[in-house]
């Protein structure tokens, strides 16, 4: 249940880790990192924040030093419980971790996990994409009637993008590996 919501929680925790913020700013940052496709709506963010408050993962920061600012600007910060939860979520790899939305968020916070986790997430993501690619390729090949020019171009472009993404992941994986290796073997292909 609520797979998207889970990833929002992770993102909020991660962002608050670099300093207290209020909802509006959180949303902007979130949209920048989720960025490319969909945006996060207030209808999702505020309820999530409420839920996290109730769960004591975050708390409201002491308000206005600036004396009487009429309308409350609610600034949130993580609690120790929130930190624990963040670490738990980051370490919790598994199919959900490399789904489209989740992957981006986890990746953005890679700096706060260890290499073992990073590698597993990157590899999981890569095989997820590879698997999609294979499925499309096979479906394409078993299509009897030849396709329309434009449809074909769309397919081609999609496949190309996915392949590029796979390459990107491979490069990242190699980079991680070589950073770890005591004896980095020079000729490791792919």
């Amino acid at each position: 249940m609520a797979r998207r919501a889970e990833s929002i929680e992770l993102a909020v925790l991660g962002l608050l880790h670099e300093g207290p913020m209020h909802g509006y700013e959180l949303r902007k940052r979130l949209n920048l990192m989720l960025g490319w496709g969909r945006v996060l709506s207030y209808g999702s963010l505020y309820p999530t924040l409420k839920k996290m408050l109730k769960g004591a993962l975050i708390e409201e920061l002491a308000p206005s030093l600036t004396p009487v600012s009429r309308r409350p600007k609610i600034v949130y910060q993580v609690t120790p419980a929130g930190t624990t939860e963040f670490e738990r979520l980051m370490a919790d790899i598994g199919p959900a971790a490399w789904e489209d939305d989740n992957f981006g968020i986890r990746f953005a916070f890679f700096g706060r996990t260890d290499m073992e986790i990073r590698l597993r997430v990157l590899e999981g993501r890569r095989s997820r994409l590879q698997e999609r690619l294979d499925r499309v390729q096979s479906q394409l090949s078993m299509t009897e009637k030849e396709v329309d020019r434009y449809s074909a171009e769309l397919q081609r472009h999609g496949v190309e993008s996915a392949e590029r993404e796979v390459q990107w992941l491979s490069d990242l994986i190699n980079a991680e590996r070589s950073r770890a290796g005591s004896t980095p073997p020079p000729a490791t292909q792919n």
Copy 2:
């Protein structure tokens, strides 16, 4: 209202134009063309089909020539009204036409519109992407604190993908334009 639903309608009409189909097959084809991100669920498809039946955009094809097939396989085909609607939707350019989901579908059916429409949709899509790109760039530059290594890499990759997409669109636009030109330059590669 119901922007996604509208695009499903368009896709269904377009697909049925290349021959009668039943829901299951429709879904497969749809997922192949929407393909890259989300899949279309039955919970969306069947209600849409019902709605289109009621609107007389499609109709059930005469059933079993094969005598007593117990469970009905419902095969749909477009009505003349459906064809009209398809043409109307394809010609209806405007912001909605170059949103992520819609664009792909329209593109896939470019073979059934004229060049003027194609160009406008391609250009609309390109400026949509360009605009996103600019927004990210400016937000990036106005960020005071320098970002984490991984976050930066994620941004970089996102920007690169978007730029590649813009390039793709530009190439397509040029191709359309040169096809229009009275003097077709002989060296058309690809």
